[in-house]
């Protein structure tokens, strides 16, 4: 009857569009081709904005694992973004590490932070996580602003551009392509996780914790895995963000940053990967497209977002989440 009658399990994270494998490839190749030529068509200004949008794709896909798959409300996601960026900043500037040597430490720091924050909190009712993560976000920013080693309020500057196999990453276009690659890796990793044993476990636990436990699933462990994987996505984004800008300061990692990423995930549709990607682009490009409106653009944008969320509470991407 159906095209996938031979026992094929639906691909999670897609929604009803793109269930056809051929269509999926066509869309993927078209998007890839667009991303490759974009800097040549548009000027450097738009390339910078697109780079930022791609960074947001990485962050949003990371938070999507936490919020969309595991159903955990994280209000301090920017903290992991900060941990990644500051680890790179501190290790390269204060300790003279090469970017690539510092990079694994950035990931490790995020994993440790994730385990320390998530480990005790995820045992409690889910509501506690929202409060604890909110506090964690503020603590990280407060520390960054007050510690000598993180450069206090002025932050860290002079972070050097990394090179890769002899390729010196330097120009804005270079960084744009770096973020294209990061976003692609984030998308592939998200799909593979969504359609794995762990990915299904996140859905089981989100739908019914008791039934999941009865099926032998350790709900604390599974939630912690989601939280830590989300943290890794955030830290990777933060590390390359630091290298790209060359300078970081506490204000780049504010509560608003966490809210913006969360908004993109909810807007696109939690648990639906194409929707989340779209959400990331809308959050970054939206205010730019409304630039003509001058001072009112953020207001118009915010009202627009509110209306979308009111009328499409499960996000703009069609289909139910997780399906």
């Amino acid at each position: 009857m159906t095209s996938n009658s031979n026992g094929a399990v639906p691909t999670h994270g897609l929604g009803p569009f793109l269930q056809d494998a051929r269509l999926r490839w066509v869309v993927a190749i078209a998007i890839l081709a667009f991303l490759v030529v974009a800097p040549m068509i548009f000027g450097s200004y738009i390339t910078v904005i697109l780079t930022n949008a791609l960074l947001y794709v990485v962050l949003c896909l990371g938070l999507n694992i936490v919020v969309g798959y595991a159903g955990l409300l994280d209000l301090g996601y920017a903290a992991f973004f900060a941990v990644g960026a500051y680890t790179i900043g501190v290790l390269t500037i204060q300790f003279g590490f090469n970017f690539w040597v510092a990079f694994p430490f950035a990931v490790l720091a995020a994993v440790l932070a994730g385990v320390i924050i998530g480990g005790p909190t995820l045992r409690l009712r889910s509501d506690y996580l929202a409060i604890v993560t909110l506090g964690f976000g503020e603590i990280v920013r407060f520390s960054a602003r007050n510690l000598e080693i993180t450069g206090r309020a002025s932050g860290i500057s002079g972070i050097q551009d990394p090179s890769l196999f002899g390729w010196q990453i330097r120009t804005q276009t270079d960084y744009y392509y770096v973020f294209v690659v990061l976003a692609i890796i984030a998308v592939i990793a998200s799909f593979r996780l969504a359609n794995s044993r762990l990915g299904r476990a996140w859905l089981y636990v989100r739908h019914d914790e008791d039934a999941a436990e009865a099926m032998g699933i350790n709900r604390v462990q599974v939630k912690l895995a989601a939280y830590v994987i989300g943290a890794i996505f955030g830290a990777v984004g933060g590390a390359f963000f630091a290298a790209n800008l060359g300078a970081i300061s506490p204000e780049s990692f504010s509560f608003e940053q966490s809210v913006l990423v969360l908004m993109a995930v909810i807007l696109g549709g939690m648990g639906k990967i194409p929707g989340v990607i779209l959400g990331a682009f809308i959050i970054i490009l939206g205010p730019e497209l409304l630039r003509d409106l001058g001072e009112f653009r953020l207001l118009v944008f915010a009202v627009g977002l509110l209306l979308i969320m009111l009328f499409r509470p499960s996000g703009i991407w069609p289909g139910r989440r997780g399906a």
Binding site: R197, R200, I217, R320
Partner: protein
């Protein structure tokens, strides 16, 4: 002697805010048996299931399963040790297919993690195939293989109950706890359920503990029956013993309504 018991509860006591729900319960299940637990509404049957499976924490007593103490274990650890259960009210995972629901049972029998999934390691791919194959086998066993790709919660009620049983079988248990599996089924479905329970024990070698209000089904299938009333075990024996036990008759007659019989 104790060794031929698969599960042995002794002195299990459970209270909520001073309200004693299980009172010094002693109860055991032999290996390879089909045992029923009956009793009037509110007797504490489901609470006994929840105490065995780690959802409730009894204040005292011991629950030994296959040589292991279960009382301090979390529900997922109890499942991993070899006890699977269904719920009195069907609790399938929404927005997921029948097959995916059943695949949840294989979680504790497999181990691929995040990195293996992201890198698509051969071991992970093999395990995924194994999870699907065994889950499909479980579905075929309960007789709903052709519904594998439907959304589980859209199935007819009787089939949803079978998905729950298939899901429990996918955990590869030694003991299966069924909480009122016949509730809401028509007589034809009850006959099929009776056969299914017999096959689970006879073909798969899994012991079954059944909570059930349908006395016809209980008397027909059980090798042993235990009766719980107000948190106390008041009788234990064969169908004949139980039917003639004055304490049991009194427990059921003392009920407000006749829901115990059907």
């Amino acid at each position: 002697m104790a060794d031929n018991q698969l599960l042995a509860l002794s002195g299990v006591t459970l209270a909520f805010a001073g309200n004693t729900v299980l009172d010094d319960v002693n109860f055991s299940i032999p290996r390879d048996a089909i045992v029923s637990l009956i009793g009037p509404n509110g007797a504490g049957k489901t609470s006994l299931f929840n105490s065995i499976t780690g959802f409730y924490k009894p204040q005292g007593g011991s629950v030994r399963f296959d040589g292991q103490e279960l009382l301090k274990l979390k529900p997922h650890q109890v499942t991993a040790s070899g006890i699977a259960r269904t719920f009195q009210n069907v609790r399938l995972f929404r927005e997921m297919t029948v097959l995916e629901n059943v695949m949840s049972g294989m979680h504790c029998r497999t181990k691929s993690g995040a990195l293996a999934a992201v890198l698509r390691l051969p071991s992970q791919q093999r395990e995924e195939a194994e999870i699907r194959a065994f889950s499909e086998e479980c579905l075929a066993f309960v007789g709903i293989a052709d519904e594998a790709n439907r959304e589980a919660t859209t199935l007819a009620y009787g089939h949803q109950r079978r998905v729950e049983i298939a899901r429990a079988l996918a955990t590869k248990p030694k003991l299966l706890l069924l909480d009122e599996p016949a509730a809401g089924l028509n007589s034809g479905e009850k006959v099929a359920l009776t056969e299914l329970i017999a096959r689970i024990r006879n073909e798969l070698g899994i012991s079954v503990l059944l909570i059930e209000h349908d006395m016809g089904l209980v008397m027909k299938i059980s090798e042993r029956i235990s009766v719980l009333d107000h948190g106390k075990m008041i009788a234990e024996g064969t169908a004949k013993d139980i039917q003639n036990d004055p304490k049991v008759i009194e427990a059921y007659l003392g009920q407000d309504d006749g829901e115990g019989q059907s």
